[in-house]
């Protein structure tokens, strides 16, 4: 048996990597994905006051601190039995939409887009945001930077601090916004909508109008028929800040809908002997191994899965794009507003841009809401209503994020559990890598463009390696070791940036 290792996270501890095992005929037998595990988080938190959690957890991940801050704040609302005011909920969602715009924009232009805009076979030195700017126009580089700037400014005053927000408190939000700030937010939201529309136009021109890319997106190389998960509002439409968790089966039938606090009744974690990764799966379907289909409890929590569970989008421009995507894939309508799920994983990039447009439009709606400048941003917790247990959940850009805290009667933490966005997708990521490897590797010495196409299978999930950042020079390095059945090294390739 041969073994190919793709190691995009070349930290010296060396457990962040992709392992592809080949049999004696040189065909793919299995593929596994691993990321480093951080230790001691629960011990670090237990014994602290619960209200510290929004500022501790927002440091777990430097990429999506806003998601952790809000999930933690929502968990605290429950711990202290303090329902936030409607103005507070709107301010939280406004911060969150602003964050989604920066995050999805950055992913498309810096990570996901280069494979399409510059090309999956282009040299890695070109396949980055600079290559995108050279291909599409230098102004795009300026706009990506300007988009980040105008939204980071808003996150800073809305969240009370740059990068790591501090405004979330049990029962609400510690900072109201002024009329001038509201005007600034409205202006930024309008620019965001324009840029999101431009990005979708770009995607259409470059990907959908190119038969080679369209073939790649719609081929079965990146196809998995799993369950889909996402948070929906009272109209069963995607909402990133609040709602119920909806799961649809691979055919698109609603399988479950539950309050995030009931997650343990629906989600179990599979432990396999060969890895410390725990694979979440749908308890009521069961674990059938790393396989897709309606009999397998593996589910996906990504931009694409959020659209798959949603009855259209709640904002008009995003809804029009939503329909266009499903119709392009030839999906039949299931309900008046929803289509059969798309299982072609590369469509996640498209779904992410539709979410970008939705977040921009929703940001504008909130900025125009008369209540957004209300000073009523907090309900002070009443000790008589103290609960001592709280589960808070939001849709992080990379999937459903759940925080679960338990405290003693003084509010001191006794238990902390989290399911972070990427964790939901461990099994689908592993399957996608395996599928791509099976389809693309035809010898024990695959070339670099093949390895990039395998990397594309996990890049589309935007897996969060934040806690496992990179060490070696250059772009994302890639180490490939090809081993024979005895584990001897046949060939090693390392791609530097």
């Amino acid at each position: 048996m041969s073994r190919i290792t793709i190691d995009p996270i070349t930290r010296l501890e060396g457990h962040g990597r992709i392992d592809i095992f080949l049999d004696d005929q040189g065909t793919v037998e299995n593929a596994y994905f691993q990321i480093p595990e951080l230790r001691g988080f629960e011990q670090f938190c237990v014994g602290r006051m619960a209200e510290e959690m929004p500022v501790i957890t927002n440091r777990i991940c430097g990429v999506c601190p806003e998601a952790h801050h809000l999930a933690a704040s929502k968990a605290l609302d429950s711990v202290f039995g303090a329902e936030p005011t409607t103005a507070a909920k709107k301010l939280r969602e406004l911060l969150y939409m602003t964050f989604f715009v920066t995050d999805h924009t950055t992913h498309f232009y810096a990570l996901g887009g280069p494979d399409f805009i510059v090309g999956p076979d282009a040299p890695s030195s070109e396949r980055n945001i600079l290559g995108v700017a050279r291909t599409v126009g230098l102004e795009v580089a300026g706009e990506v930077i300007a988009c980040r700037k105008r939204n980071h400014e808003i996150i800073t005053f809305l969240g009370g601090k740059s990068i790591h927000p501090v405004a979330g408190v049990p029962g609400g939000w510690s900072r109201a916004i002024t009329a001038e700030e509201r005007i600034q937010i409205e202006g930024a939201a309008r620019k965001n909508i324009e840029f999101a529309r431009f990005s979708l136009t770009l995607f259409e021109k470059i990907v959908l109008k190119n038969p080679v890319y369209l073939e790649m997106v719609t081929s079965d190389t990146y196809l998995h028929r799993t369950y889909s998960m996402g948070t929906v509002d009272a109209n069963n439409q995607a909402n990133f800040y609040d709602g119920l968790i909806r799961v649809v089966d691979p055919e698109g039938n609603e399988f479950a809908k539950y309050h995030p606090s009931e997650y343990r009744e629906h989600i179990a974690e599979r432990v396999e002997a060969w890895t410390y990764l725990k694979y979440p799966y749908l308890k009521k379907v069961g674990w059938k191994g790393l396989t897709d289909g309606i009999e397998s409890g593996i589910y996906t929590a990504t931009p694409l899965s959020r659209l798959n569970v949603s009855e259209g989008m709640a904002t008009p421009l995003a809804n029009a794009e939503y329909r266009r995507m499903y119709e392009t894939f030839g999906c039949k309508r299931i309900t008046a507003a929803r289509y059969e799920p798309i299982h072609h994983r590369l469509a996640t990039h498209w779904a992410r841009l539709i979410e970008l447009l939705y977040a921009s439009e929703r940001m504008l709606e909130l900025a125009l809401d008369p209540e957004i400048t209300s000073r009523e941003t907090r309900n002070i917790p009443d000790p008589a209503r103290f609960v001592g247990v709280g589960i808070g959940s939001v849709e992080a850009p990379r999937g459903t994020l759940t925080h679960h805290y338990e405290t003693d009667e003084r509010g001191v933490l006794t238990k902390v559990n989290m399911i972070v966005g990427t964790t939901n997708n461990y099994a689908p990521i592993s399957m996608s890598i395996k599928r791509a490897a099976e389809r693309l590797i035809t010898s024990s010495a695959p070339d670099e463009s093949i390895l990039n196409k395998i990397e594309m299978a996990f890049r589309l999930y935007d897996p969060c390696f934040s806690c496992a950042t990179h060490f070696l020079p250059g772009k994302m390095p890639l180490t490939v070791s090809v081993r024979d059945s005895q584990g001897g090294l046949l060939r090693e390739m390392r791609r530097k940036g």
Binding site: E13, G40, R59, V63, I129, A133, R148
Partner: protein, 190 residues
């Protein structure tokens, strides 16, 4: 608005120049001259030795803040964020933990031209620093004339905790002294 029928967006591209906002120091922008020094401590202060860059930056700023125009910034991820954090400053010093195989506590200095990516200067969600810096240049962001990177070799990065390992704690004062000396030299204050 819900359920409203809407035609697809028109393919007209936005007018870029109008979208690009006016510059601000410490943020990104166009056409502004640069001034002052920023020291950027990188890493996660809750992950053992990963927080050493943040601690060193804070200590350097404490020593120098009354003597010159110096700003200290804490940053958790690199890539585009790091480029943005130094925009508008004349000089930038970046301090980060490192995992290169050297003995824990080892201090190394890098110029941008021979820059080795330290632990947090790469962002797996966008790009490495060199690409981000080039992106900033491309976008007309006012970037520093002088940039230096300091890496301090760590030992423990995967354990939640606010304590450094012994070797790293012991190396901290020396790192602060060397960085203070460099900034003083840059500023012509020696």
């Amino acid at each position: 608005m819900k359920g409203m029928r809407q035609t697809s967006p028109s393919p007209t591209l936005p007018r870029w120049r109008e979208l690009i906002s006016s510059p601000q120091r410490g943020e990104v922008g166009r056409g502004e001259s640069v001034s002052g020094t920023v020291i950027i401590g990188m890493g996660n202060p809750l992950l053992s030795d990963d927080g050493v860059g943040v601690a060193v930056a804070a200590a350097v700023a404490e020593r120098l803040k009354h003597r010159m125009d110096l700003t200290v910034t804490e940053l958790h991820t690199g890539g585009i964020r790091l480029m943005e954090a130094m925009a508008g400053y004349k000089r930038a010093v970046v301090v980060d933990a490192m995992l290169s195989g050297a003995p824990p506590g080892t201090l190394q200095r890098f110029d941008p031209k021979d820059f080795v990516t330290t632990k947090n200067t790469f962002s797996s969600h966008d790009t490495d620093f060199a690409t981000a810096y080039e992106l900033g240049r491309m976008a007309g962001v006012p970037l520093p004339e002088q940039v230096s990177f300091w890496g301090i070799e760590g030992r423990e990065f995967d354990l939640f905790g606010e304590r450094f390992t012994d070797e790293v704690a012991a190396a901290l004062p020396g790192a602060v002294n060397r960085i203070v000396a460099e900034i003083m030299e840059w500023e012509g204050a020696v």
